[in-house]
Symmetry: C2
DNA sequence: CGGCTGGTTGATGTTACTCAACTCGCGTGG
DNA sequence: CCACGCGAGTTGAGTAACATCAACCAGCCG
């Protein structure tokens, strides 16, 4: 198991006032579509930046829900923990994405959020966000969209878990990552995985050995090159065809 | 395949003006927590009731998103369709639940919604709903909760698909149904399934034969009695222990 | 150096899928 | 009326896919 320290809730040296106006995620995160004044207002609500180290928990399942978090930098997983210690990864979250949406319904976090690398988040007290969504219709609309989008993403995962074979799931997973990296301006063909084989497996409903074998299989088929966590996609067309066509067997 | 007729979009004899104030789902559906005036406003927005026959589509994946739908009576499945014709059921929806939330992000429905029995829905034009959520903070808050709840439900399904065995998945599924029936005031121990073994299988990531075998197994273990679609749970404690404990093998 | 974590690969076991036969209930048409 | 086909469900036998168990390697850190 990971040797995690629980993230403390007090302000420390790593806490910095956030500023949406000057943030380079303006086009991806909550501020999408807002004018300068509105972004200023949103900036007032977004209370502060917080640094979270690799392996550290941003929040724990069951703890009191106060805030959403926007990933400003880094990579997180969210996971449900069984009584027996095994975990199901239910989400992977990168720059510009919101964490904690599932907590709104229960007024407590419903899963654990763990940093997969040293990360930075902006804390967004939900009560305040709710207030200003009333004042800024664009923001409310966008927030509805973000939540809806989360549901769509979950459906995609359900599709993958429910009706794909191991290598198809991995292909779908890699294509999804590829697309998200590309949206952030990174290469869509070469990237570093932030998570272990076990975490990928947990996300895809597979054991780590199966994930490893699926990687080897895709490599044998010359679709990609794997060097530990570094992935180079060499034939994205065939990678895509894994999802669409191999289902038609 | 089902011989479905596509639901038409024009008003016909089966369309009746909806009325939230007098609806017996007030405590479950959108009106939760609203006062009389607010419910009146909401009633103005909820445009009309629509009857959907068994097998009929409420909406199709890809078609223009205009409205959410509240299930007033009956039972729906939502599903994603593969190119090869196979489908993944991503949701099952009963009285008091909202349909179409995943469409908000894309401005088009992302899945098909099909009635599993003769049903009634209230149509809620989303633009109008959005307007009044600005005016009625309680409604906005509740709508956020509903969307968040949808995400939580999806996570539960992902947990089931990703890390449970066939009979555990079925147990989790039945317990979920049981709970939802009970919330609606129906028996939590005897109920009729509205869906076929194939649809259950699609929802749980299993083949219909496997679902059938899982039912037989639970019956052999004297946990429940199966008579075609009619289920009687005779030992709910052991049914529950299927999910918690058999994971610890 | 030795121990640890993360990853790969092989041999074997288990689960669920596939294919097939059969039943039951229902509706249709000769 | 019964024969028939059809869809839904159950059950059995054989098989494919994934899990499990185990050995091994590489990199990292104390």
């Amino acid at each position: 198991m990971l040797l995690n320290t629980v993230s403390t809730d007090h302000l420390d040296a790593s806490d910095i006032k956030a500023n949406c106006a000057s943030c380079n995620l303006r086009e991806l995160c909550l501020p999408v579509g807002l004018n300068e004044d509105e972004i200023e207002m949103l900036g007032e609500v977004v209370s502060r930046k917080r640094r979270i180290q690799r392996g550290e928990y941003l929040y724990h399942a069951g703890s009191d829900f106060q805030s959403l978090f926007a990933v400003r930098n880094g990579f997180f997983k969210t996971c449900l923990l069984h009584e027996d210690g095994r975990q199901q990864v239910v989400g992977l979250h990168m720059r510009g994405e919101l964490l904690g949406l599932s907590a709104i319904s229960a007024e407590a976090y419903t899963c654990d959020a763990v940093a997969l690398e040293d990360s930075e988040v902006c804390e967004i007290p939900f009560v305040k966000l709710e207030e200003i969504t009333r004042i800024i219709p664009t923001l409310m609309h966008h927030f509805y969209k973000i939540m809806s989008c989360e549901i769509v993403k979950d459906h995609d995962v359900m599709l993958s878990l429910g009706s794909m074979k191991a290598d198809e799931r991995l292909a779908a997973f890699l294509l999804n990552l590829s697309q998200r990296f590309s949206r952030l301006g990174y290469s869509s063909l070469n990237f570093n995985l932030r998570m272990t084989r076990e975490e990928i497996g947990s996300y895809l409903g597979l054991k780590l050995e199966t994930v490893s074998r699926a990687f080897s299989k895709l490599q044998e088929e010359k679709i990609l090159t794997v060097d530990n966590k570094y992935i180079q996609i060499s034939d994205i067309k065939r990678l895509k065809s894994k999802i669409g066509i191999s289902l038609c067997v």
